[in-house]
Symmetry: C2
Subunit: 317 residues, 2 copies
């Protein structure tokens, strides 16, 4: 139904999926994914985090957590029309790691931030922008942000050079009305910026919410193949590719990725519609308690988990 | 967000889920489900089909496919506020099997029909209605019905005594706009009937579509616990119970059902978001080809399956 070519799919399988498997993707996996997404008409592939290993405990993470330009040039020697992006976190990125865009494989740098650090995020964005990159600002945990804080942040963001501002449903707690309300607000407060949505699937609403965003004029639609991403995962790329009605989109290569790469991956690590994530989504909470539960022997003790999270005496938040 | 107490959840775990496990639910399973759904605030439990074993190949089906009143009275000796329903198919029900409502455990009989048999469905409904039952008419495969056929059917349905008319997304191919369009049409053509929605989850839209229906004033919302139902399954009961904002709804007993009954069941039989069902949903087709694939050695050969279903030379429909 959404027919205009005004949308860009940004596939974050490697970056967000890395939160599930500690970025343990082989080079071949990433190369095949890039080729498949290119054939599918996906505009951007987020190939990882560009955080600094010096500023984080690395915990034997795979190379997609701390992207290195020399390595990336080996992985992707020839680029297609699909652009490459990387995400950075406030306080975890070393600006000196970033090459000017003309020397980089990356096209887009996205800055993820909590509301309290929006000023730091804007500083980074100004720097990346001056180096020639496309930029986005992703305000995380939007469902916990107070209205007045958001209004103050908007004033700063509007003046910044950032290209795209994201509505991020970190906890998978938004429904279509929440998305509609947020997008309207962002459009009103940031009339000169493009918008993006990054939805989580705790309540099986990631795809539906992304469509609501697309219909309201949001340009950047985040997704991942087979929904791979932290906890309940994301809007599935295969559904977006099949739904958006532009001739460039092609479902077949995405099905090939799922068959060859994602089904074996899903047998090793888990994400998706699992009840503890549904519970944290319903309660509008960070999924960390649910992730801990799924890593324990009690992983299917949903009632005990629910009681713990909803008990007025023993709050775990 | 949907706060009015104008909605009734109808859980069809046993009836629709039976299509997955050949109705192989133990009596204890069904009793625990009934108790849990009652505590959760669910208005109706569909306890099976009331088709006749004489009119169908039974294939060793469990007892919930051919409900027997004496058996049902043993299973549910004491009823709660949660009413019981059964589904019948045109041509598969023996009217002489149906007791008058005051002698029956059942409260509601639902008649499922393809558009061509709506007249037969209405005949049955008139009979059940005169026996004291609440009745619904469920027009299956609505996404394949021609507009003029539907208009003709509406004229007959409007004159019938049926209480509720359902929008059934048999193939899981509808999005929110389709649901919005259909509900508006049903409301315009059948202003004196209550409406229901029965959605399938091929594109992860069953819950979202059900919410769209609820907001537009649809009263009867079909669901099943953990989404158990044929192929991609249904709108999950746990999501509806947590979303609808009336004090009678209680998520905890549904979580208990999932933990104790559904997780072990899902390890034995499969349903839910599996790519072949997504493909038939996208193509607006009956899932039978996808079900056959999942029962074969080629169950994860998605690309081959997609090619087969979309090839202009070798149509499998």
């Amino acid at each position: 139904m959404v027919r205009k070519d005004s949308h860009k799919i940004l596939d974050c399988t490697i970056r967000d999926g890395g939160l599930v498997n500690n970025w343990d993707f082989s080079v071949e996996f990433v190369q095949n994914l890039y080729r498949g997404l290119s054939e599918a008409g996906v505009a951007y592939m987020e190939i990882g985090y560009k955080n600094s290993a010096k500023l984080l405990k690395s915990e034997d993470s795979g190379p997609w957590r701390f992207l290195n330009e020399d390595f990336l040039k080996e992985v992707i020697p020839t680029k297609t029309e699909t652009k490459l992006s990387a995400l950075v976190d406030i306080g975890r990125v070393d600006e000196n790691d970033i090459l000017p865009r003309e020397e980089s494989v990356l096209d887009l740098i996205r800055v993820a931030t909590y509301i309290k650090d929006v000023d730091k995020a804007i500083e980074l964005i100004e720097k990346f922008h001056s180096m020639g990159y496309e930029t986005t600002l992703n305000i995380m945990a939007l469902s916990h942000v107070k209205e007045n804080e958001l209004s103050e942040a908007f004033a700063e963001i509007a003046k910044s050079p950032v290209d795209v501002v994201y509505v991020v449903d970190s906890y998978g707690s938004m429904d279509h009305r929440d998305v509609d309300y947020m997008i309207s607000k962002f459009q009103r407060m940031l009339p000169d910026k493009e918008l993006g949505v990054h939805m989580h699937n705790n309540m099986q609403l990631a795809f539906s919410n992304t469509l609501i965003g697309a219909e309201k004029g949001v340009s950047y639609l985040d997704s991942s193949v087979y929904g791979m991403g932290r906890a309940a995962g994301n809007c599935p790329t295969e559904l977006l590719v099949s739904y958006l009605k532009h001739p460039k989109y092609n479902l077949r290569p995405v099905l090939e990725i799922i068959e060859k790469l994602m089904i074996p991956m899903r047998e090793k690590v888990e994400w998706g519609y699992l009840i503890p994530y549904t519970v944290t989504g319903i309660l509008n909470e960070h999924p960390r308690t649910a992730m801990a539960l799924r890593n324990s022997e009690d992983k299917d003790k949903y009632v005990e988990f629910y009681d713990r999270l909803t008990s007025p005496e023993i709050m775990v938040k």
